[in-house]
Symmetry: C2
Subunit: 188 residues, 2 copies
């Protein structure tokens, strides 16, 4: 019996990572993903989303299990506080993407990361959402992302490592630069 | 014994909603919120976020319970597929925010909504994330948001109702127009 040990850096299979990079370089179609989700309003500030699959190269790929998440608002925002609110979910999307992007790109460069923690803050002025002042945006005024990283590298390598998350993260880039959003409303 | 019945439209306490609008109009400080979250990398594409409180008018307000969510990547993206990925969480943030914004603003206008469902899609080209082609962005190329809404209103009111979510949603506006993100990295 032969036991094959897959080489992992930061928990990422580096040989597969390099193969993926090579494959996408050769066949750009392999890089095309569409992620999707269905959401349903329950009551008040409560609604739930389900993720069951995604598209890769135009084909549906099922997830191993169904992911289901809720949203609500705290009492001061007239909700039941049964789940995180949409802005908190946005911060999770950003934190998780910056972290994974750093970890993967570090693995590709052979850099072992020992610890990544982040603390995120997003400022909101309700006057925007309530439409009380047209000079105040509805969205976040600013987001602050503080990363704490442990890695056994020299200072120059640490500097390079620090930049990997913000440089490559899809959610970071989407949120910093904005994304065209096409809206369609159907009456049922 | 007097039983006070709170008037609700779409599950939202409308009197409190109007009081909130009035209060924020009079005292802008009441509109200031900072949402925050802590994330910790586990292994590979896995990390977890925790939300325990938020800031309102500079004061910490605890949530009723602690919210904890995970992120991972599917197998084709070298993860263990144990949780939704960051882009899927981003779509949840967007869906939940547009829905709640529509429901609240409809309640403020006295419009009863019977059903709100949405289907969201976000396109990603991995060549951006992998740094293989500088002309391809890392982030989402486009997001498509399809709302299905049921409400007993005439066509003009339905048109106005349709626009409420995209017009007022903080996450929609953040994601469409972009947000300044301040990054700080600490070595531990």
């Amino acid at each position: 019996m032969t036991v094959q040990t897959k080489k992992r850096t930061n928990g990422v299979e580096v040989d597969r990572l390099h193969e993926t990079v090579k494959a996408v370089k050769e066949t750009s179609q392999l890089g095309l993903f569409t992620f999707h989700l269905a959401n349903r309003w329950t009551d008040g500030a409560k609604n739930r989303s389900q993720v069951t699959s995604f598209q890769h190269q135009g084909q549906q790929v099922p997830h191993d299990s169904k992911f289901d998440f809720a949203a609500d608002e705290p009492d001061v925002l007239l909700g039941a506080d049964s789940a995180a609110n949409p802005v908190e979910h946005l911060l999770h999307a950003l934190a998780s993407c910056v972290t994974t992007s750093m970890v993967y790109h570090a693995a590709a460069r052979g850099i072992s990361v020992e610890r990544v923690e982040s603390a995120l803050e997003g400022d909101l002025d309700l006057r925007g959402f309530l439409g009380l002042d047209p000079t105040i945006r509805n969205g976040c005024q600013q987001i602050r992302l503080k990363l704490r990283v442990k890695a056994n590298v020299d200072d120059d390598e640490f500097q390079a490592l620090s930049n990997l998350g913000p440089t490559f993260s899809p959610v970071f880039e989407s949120l910093r630069n904005g994304v065209p959003i096409q809206v369609e409303v159907e009456r049922v």
